[in-house]
């Protein structure tokens, strides 16, 4: 039978039972819509994470004291990472472009009657370029000022707003844990990253932070930028070797530091996102399967209802395969229509999510195509049994059916 006639006949019979067809395909609609929305959510999260991690700095490596324990727990304080380690790495690993010691802490900051607790980052001047910090106004501190333990600070945009209420912070003197610091630079806005807000901090020379503010002789970590085009794994090995030597760790003993490259961080975060996406998508596809059962149910009803029609068609010369094809086509068509509506629904949900939450979903055309064709496959698969029952009807019995 011509395909056009098949489409026409199928559409007519679906249209004759509008409400029933709609209910039958509702499962598919919801399933496809949910799958598309969930995958778009996951893709959006992945894109956001990639952007954020890249904005941390390119070719970034982070060295932190301590190792993740066997239970994945990292104890809170370590005092074994020294300034000498940073110098050794800089001298012995030529692939390291630049590095900066990092000290993190927080302090009470006062300006006139404004008083707030602010995260403090002690770092070298290289920190700004390693971490992609650009300055809105002013300048960063110099190497000379760092050696002198100058009490200078570069202020994050949000902290500046909190303390100075829109006035220029440049040249102002603030009290940090009682010590006077002069503000010489204002950071450009970077945007909150959830687990850490780069706009709310004071960046001061690491020497000042160690000796004057916190009274430490060890580092909180070392941030490194490696040269472009070198293999991060190779550099990691070299740095690890240097650190083993520095800390006198024999080859068979566990390390007392953690070295992570940006690529690894990204990989870890993306694998978490992927797992979540697959989980959500998997749950959504279950509803697609349930939708298929709905199609099967309604097709069985349709076949029973149209027993007489089947008898007539067989008397007129329809072969079993003609009947099979007709009903299979109908169930595929109904799921395809459901799939189409589901795609629209999924895209609609994505727009809704985008407009309600400050989150942008990412609809991948390939996923839409997959979800759509999967819905067609579900229709064909679950339509097969009812169609087979229709095709195997005995023509005499079918013609007698009232």
């Amino acid at each position: 039978m011509l395909i056009l006639t098949l489409i026409k006949v199928s559409l007519k019979s679906l249209w004759a039972n509008k409400m029933r067809s709609f209910l039958a395909t509702l499962g598919i609609i919801i399933g496809v819509g949910a799958v598309i929305a969930m995958l778009a959510l996951g893709e959006g999260a992945k894109r956001q994470i990639t952007q954020k991690v890249s904005s941390l700095g390119s070719n970034l490596m982070i060295l932190r004291p301590g190792q993740k324990g066997s239970r994945g727990v990292q104890s809170s304080t370590y005092d074994n990472l020294k300034l000498e380690d940073a110098e050794a790495i800089l001298h012995k690993v030529p692939e390291v472009l630049q590095l900066s010691p990092v000290i993190r802490g927080s302090a009470q900051v006062k300006y006139l009657n404004q008083n707030t607790r602010v995260p403090i980052t002690g770092a070298a001047v290289t920190y700004f370029s390693i971490r992609n910090f650009a300055l809105q106004h002013g300048r960063p501190f110099t190497d000379a000022e760092t050696r002198e333990q100058a009490r200078l600070a570069v202020i994050g945009s949000q902290t500046a707003d909190d303390l100075f209420k829109g006035r220029s912070p440049l040249g102002k003197v603030i009290k940090v844990n009682g010590l006077n610091f002069k503000i010489i630079g204002l950071l450009k806005v970077k945007g909150d990253e959830g687990w850490y807000n780069p706009d709310n901090q004071l960046i001061i020379p690491y020497t000042t932070a160690m000796k004057q503010l916190f009274g430490l002789d060890y580092l909180g970590g070392i941030d490194l930028q490696i040269k472009k085009g070198v293999d991060p794994e190779e550099v990691k090995k070299k740095i690890t070797a240097v650190m083993r030597h520095q800390h006198r760790i024999p080859a068979d003993m566990p390390l007392d530091f953690t070295l992570q490259s940006q690529a690894e961080v990204l990989e870890t975060l993306n694998s978490i996102t992927l797992a979540l996406t697959l989980l959500l998508g998997g749950i959504a596809s279950i509803s697609l399967l349930v939708g298929g059962i709905g199609i099967m149910n309604i097709m069985l009803v349709t076949v029973t209802e149209r027993t007489r029609e089947i008898g007539i068609r067989k008397a007129l010369g329809a072969r079993n395969r003609d009947i099979l094809r007709q009903f299979l086509f109908e169930s595929t068509l109904i799921s395809l229509i459901g799939g189409g509506i589901g795609v629209a629904l999924g895209i609609g949900i994505c727009y809704l999510i985008d407009s309600i939450f400050s989150f942008s979903t990412l609809i991948q055309p390939t996923y839409v195509a997959i979800a759509f064709s999967f819905s067609a496959a579900v229709g064909t698969f679950f339509g097969f049994y009812p169609a087979l029952r229709a095709a195997r009807q005995d023509p005499i019995e079918a013609l007698r059916y009232e």
Partner: protein, 260 residues
């Protein structure tokens, strides 16, 4: 030979085709094929038996039935309900197969054919007309008539269907759906559908059973005209004496056996 016949059938004038069929039958006759004893025989039923099982009881629906129908003959099969006439019609219509015996239709033994082959015979050789019309709802008269041709893969189904509707005087009702037509008109659509493939026999099962007397007469007039003017072979199954009387010959059946 069979295929040539099929191909030649479409696109020729009806009478020419019928002559061709007769000629083919004649060829089979002179070459001494056992399938056909003469050029003018349309179908032969030989010693056909059919049993049914109803619960643990076996019913002998047809008991060694034999009959012959000539080409261009109009025959009535008459019998009360339960006489076996429905079973006979199912076998004549290739909807069912006999348990034993032979059924030769248009020179071909069809009594041992299976599923798809039987469907093909039904499509090409037999035109059904039912008591309850059995038109498909939600499809226009034209689409209903078109249907057998679509299953045959006919390239110009619409044109042929329109011609068939014209033959039964319904050219103006082509795009009406069955529920917009009267009973008599519906049955005429059904007749057009039976005609459209240019079958060997038209098999009508109580064609006037659901019609008033005026429509009945109209329908019978259509059958008679098709038989006389176009030389169609028509078999009408009925229990009404009035209808049977309009046929050239009556075959009476009772308790699964032919009486006359």
């Amino acid at each position: 030979m069979q295929d040539d016949g099929e191909n030649a059938r479409f696109g020729m004038k009806d009478h020419f085709q019928l002559r061709f069929k007769a000629w083919r039958g004649f060829c089979v006759g002179v070459t001494g094929s056992i399938e056909q004893q003469g050029a003018f025989i349309m179908l032969v039923v030989e010693e056909v038996t059919k049993r049914y099982r109803m619960g643990d009881q076996e019913i002998l629906a047809l008991n060694r039935v034999s009959l012959t129908v000539d080409r261009a003959e109009m025959v009535a099969i008459v019998g009360a309900s339960g006489s076996g006439k429905s079973t006979l019609m199912h076998i004549l219509g290739c909807l069912d197969r006999p348990d034993s015996g032979r059924y030769v239709l248009n020179g071909r033994d069809v009594s041992r054919l299976l599923g798809d082959e039987l469907a093909r015979i039904r499509n090409r050789e037999i035109g059904f007309v039912f008591q309850t019309f059995n038109l498909l709802p939600r499809m226009s008269a034209l689409e209903n008539v078109e249907l057998p041709l679509l299953y045959a893969g006919h390239p110009a189904a619409k044109i042929e269907a329109a011609k068939a509707l014209e033959q039964v005087g319904l050219a103006s009702r082509m795009y009406h759906e069955p529920n917009q037509l009267s009973g008599g008109q519906r049955q005429r659509v059904a007749i057009a559908r039976a005609l459209v493939t240019n079958p060997s026999i038209i098999l009508a099962d109580e064609p006037t059973g659901n019609l008033d007397s005026k429509s009945s007469e109209e329908i019978m007039a259509v059958f008679q005209r098709l038989n006389r003017e176009d030389g169609r072979t028509i078999i009408i199954v009925t229990h009404e004496q009035e209808i049977a009387a309009k046929c050239q010959r009556q075959i009476r059946i009772r308790d699964g056996q032919i009486l006359s």
